[in-house]
């Protein structure tokens, strides 16, 4: 064997055809990746629920826990048949994907609610909560980050960074519960549980309270809704705000050293205008990227936060499903969260290519 056979020259990459390069093509290719990612995620959910120990049938059969051994065996067999768990895995997988494509997500083991219906109620609530949290986090994060960067090295900078580090690692449930104690129990400023008071007769049209209040012309819904949203949204936002503060500070500091900032100052622009028109516009990219990445942790946090505040979202649905071993619900909620996560990540990706022409090269 000579050296020549082992070292193969790397072939030059052929240039992409014209229709496959450029901004639109990048957009299309990223769009095409979404179904692939979703398929992979669905498969993981399938495997997680079916292949790991603790069959749903066993846990369901034991659910009554007063059953004798024989009853238990019979129960288990019946449930296994009913769920199709006795069929070969590949067949089950086929059925699973077929059901998924047709949005047949099954019904909850408890009560006869369809999982799709449950998700339809819960998803808007979660989207409301995460969007509210994100808005709060961006507001806090950008303001503190910019201030820390502009006053670099001062005590403001140091203490902002210390607070950011602390808030960044706060466990959501402890924070949420303490917020409930302080603002709900001691000060009695805010309601602590749920999404709307039960005294209000709310019939969802879109499921989003803000939209429904406009569509149904019921402005009295808004204030209680905001009141219920404040504590969970801030709880969720704080850990993210700390992260954004760090990124904004680093990103702004980097841009502040650039020549065009000096030019802007030299031509006599005020500091505020420099920051708004030149610095922030150029510092946005890493911030938006981080927002996308952090959305995942925000969704994860919503699982815990929703449980703390008895907020009727997908996260709480998931936790309840897990505790009751209600597998159709777990599967549906997990898929919904994964879907939301993937869509947001890709949306952020696309947003970045829009914001920064440099990324449009495939």
């Amino acid at each position: 064997m000579s050296a020549g056979t082992l070292i193969r020259p790397r072939l030059p990459r052929l240039p992409r055809p014209a229709w496959l390069s450029g901004g639109t093509a990048v957009f299309l290719r990223r769009l095409a990746a979404i179904p692939v990612v979703l398929f992979a995620l669905a498969s993981v959910v399938f495997v997680a629920i079916r292949l790991l120990p603790g069959s749903p049938a066993t846990s369901l059969a034991a659910g009554g826990n007063t059953a004798s051994a024989e009853e238990f065996g019979a129960n288990e067999e019946r449930i296994t048949k009913a769920l199709g768990l006795d069929q070969p895995l590949l067949t089950q997988y086929g059925h699973f994907l077929d059901d998924l494509v047709h949005l047949r997500l099954g019904t909850s083991f408890y009560g006869s609610n369809s999982v799709l219906g449950l998700l339809g109620d819960a998803l808007p609530a979660t989207v409301e909560l995460t969007l509210a949290a994100m808005t709060v986090a961006v507001l806090i994060g950008v303001v503190t980050g910019v201030v820390a960067a502009l006053r670099k090295g001062s005590w403001i900078d140091t203490s902002t960074r210390a607070v950011a580090t602390v808030s960044f690692s706060l466990p959501w449930f402890a924070l949420g519960v303490l917020a409930i104690v302080v603002f709900g129990v001691w000060l009695r400023w805010l309601p602590v549980l749920g999404r709307l008071p039960s005294s209000l007769d709310y019939r969802p049209t879109t499921g989003f309270v803000l939209l429904d209040a406009i569509l149904q012309d019921r402005p009295e819904l808004l204030w209680p809704w905001v009141q219920h949203l404040i504590l969970p949204a801030i709880t969720l936002a704080l850990s993210m705000a700390g992260f954004i503060t760090r990124i904004v500070r680093a990103s702004v500091l980097e841009v502040l050293g650039d020549d065009f900032v000096r030019t802007a100052r030299m031509k006599g622009l005020g500091e505020g205008a420099v920051v708004r028109r030149h610095v922030l516009r150029n510092a946005w990219l890493p911030i938006v990227t981080v927002l996308g990445l952090q959305f995942g942790s925000l969704l994860g946090g919503s699982v815990v936060t929703e449980t703390v505040f008895s907020y009727p979202g997908v996260g709480r649905l998931l936790v309840q499903g897990v505790l009751q071993r209600d597998y159709p619900v777990v599967q549906g909620a997990a898929l919904a969260i994964a879907l939301l996560f993937t869509l947001v990540n890709h949306a952020v990706d696309l947003l970045c290519t829009v914001l920064d022409p440099r990324l449009r090269k495939g």
């Binding site: 050296a3 082992l6 070292i7 193969r8 790397r10 990612v37 992979a40 995620l41 993981v44 959910v45 997680a48 629920i49 292949l51 790991l52 120990p53 603790g54 846990s59 210390a162 580090t165 602390v166 960044f168 690692s169 706060l170 466990p171 959501w172 449930f173 402890a174 924070l175 519960v177 303490l178 409930i180 104690v181 709900g184 129990v185 001691w186 602590v192 995942g296 942790s297 969704l299 994860g300 946090g301 699982v303 815990v304 449980t307 703390v308 998931l318 936790v319 499903g321 897990v322 505790l323 071993r325 777990v330 997990a334 969260i337 994964a338 996560f341 993937t342």
Partner: protein, 311 residues
């Protein structure tokens, strides 16, 4: 990557190389570095960091020794004293079943610590192994392992933990497994990058040519050299694991009642928010302090272990 390796294999080996010793790679196994950092006091140099170290040490001490010092049984229920405030017999009062709150707090530190540390160790072990193998083997093996890692990272990690725990059933062991496995991919990715970089260096190539076996090269040559940045990332993982452990046991997926556990105590206490808020405030504050201390200590150790910020 693979070109480099092919080139190395193809390069003619000098039959009788001059007896010049191989360039010795900088030494220092991960454990040694940790001990060195502690001995030379490159850690805890600012007051917040020192405070965090003290807090963490205090929690660990309470978890280890506390149960020996506090006489009361955390499981014994007394129907005569339900939800009582602090008294001589029960310094922090009793909970809704008349169990001593102090004893429950002291005993309840153990599950959180156990899960945090064990899950971090598991994530470090699995992540390092996968990363070493993928980074060194390259080719198909690397592709397969890394696509698996990508897939795991495409989920919000807490969702992955919840799914794993859901499948395995709630409990300490499945919590450790779930958190450990879901935090491993991040470490695997780092370990792979570092290993691939290291594997292309002359000393590793020399070892290969000298006939050293792959496991030996990986564990004795590569691992010590990537240990610093890797360990820095592992200590950062600890605070994430602590947050997860606390959150999941709050959700009721951790150690099962009646065994005391801070997370679950908060959940159980929420029912008595208005009558006895201390049942929630005490364990929640302790958890908060513990997780924040973990994060500060992690930050501090990372700076000490990986000053150049390669991780």
């Amino acid at each position: 990557m693979s070109e480099t390796r092919a080139a190395a294999e193809a390069a003619p080996v000098p039959a009788a190389a001059p007896a010049a010793p191989l360039p010795k790679p900088p030494s220092g196994a991960p454990g040694r570095r940790l001990v060195d950092a502690l001995r030379h006091r490159t850690v805890a140099r600012s007051w917040p960091a020192s405070l965090a170290w003290l807090l963490l040490a205090a929690v660990v001490l309470v978890a280890l020794l506390g149960p020996l010092l506090v006489q009361a049984d955390p499981l014994r229920q007394t129907s005569a004293a339900l939800l009582t405030p602090g008294s001589a017999g029960h310094p922090l009062g009793t909970d809704d079943l008349g169990r001593d709150e102090l004893a429950r707090l002291v005993h309840g530190a153990r599950p959180l610590l156990l899960v945090s540390f064990a899950a971090t160790a598991l994530a470090a072990g699995v992540g390092t192994l996968v990363g070493l193998v993928a980074g060194y083997a390259g080719g198909m093996v690397e592709q397969m392992l890394m696509r698996l890692v990508d897939l795991a990272l495409a989920f919000p990690s807490i969702l992955l933990v919840i799914l794993l725990v859901a499948a395995a059933g709630p409990g300490t062991v499945s919590l450790i497994l779930g958190i450990g496995i879901s935090l491993a991919p991040g470490l695997a990715r780092l370990a792979r990058t570092l290993t691939a970089r290291e594997a292309a260096k002359d000393y590793v190539v020399a070892c290969r040519l000298g006939g050293t076996s792959a496991p030996h090269i990986l564990l004795r040559e590569v691992l010590p050299n990537i240990g610093g940045p890797l360990l820095a990332q592992v200590v950062m993982t600890l605070s994430v694991a602590a947050g997860f452990a606390a959150g999941l046991s709050y959700l009721g997926l951790g150690i099962q009642p009646p065994q005391p556990d801070w997370g679950y105590m908060v959940q159980a206490g929420q029912e008595f928010l208005f009558t006895a808020p201390r049942l929630v405030v005490l364990p929640a504050t302790l958890t908060l302090l513990f997780v924040v201390a973990c994060n500060f200590v992690g930050d501090d150790l990372r700076d000490a272990l990986d000053p150049r910020g390669t991780a």
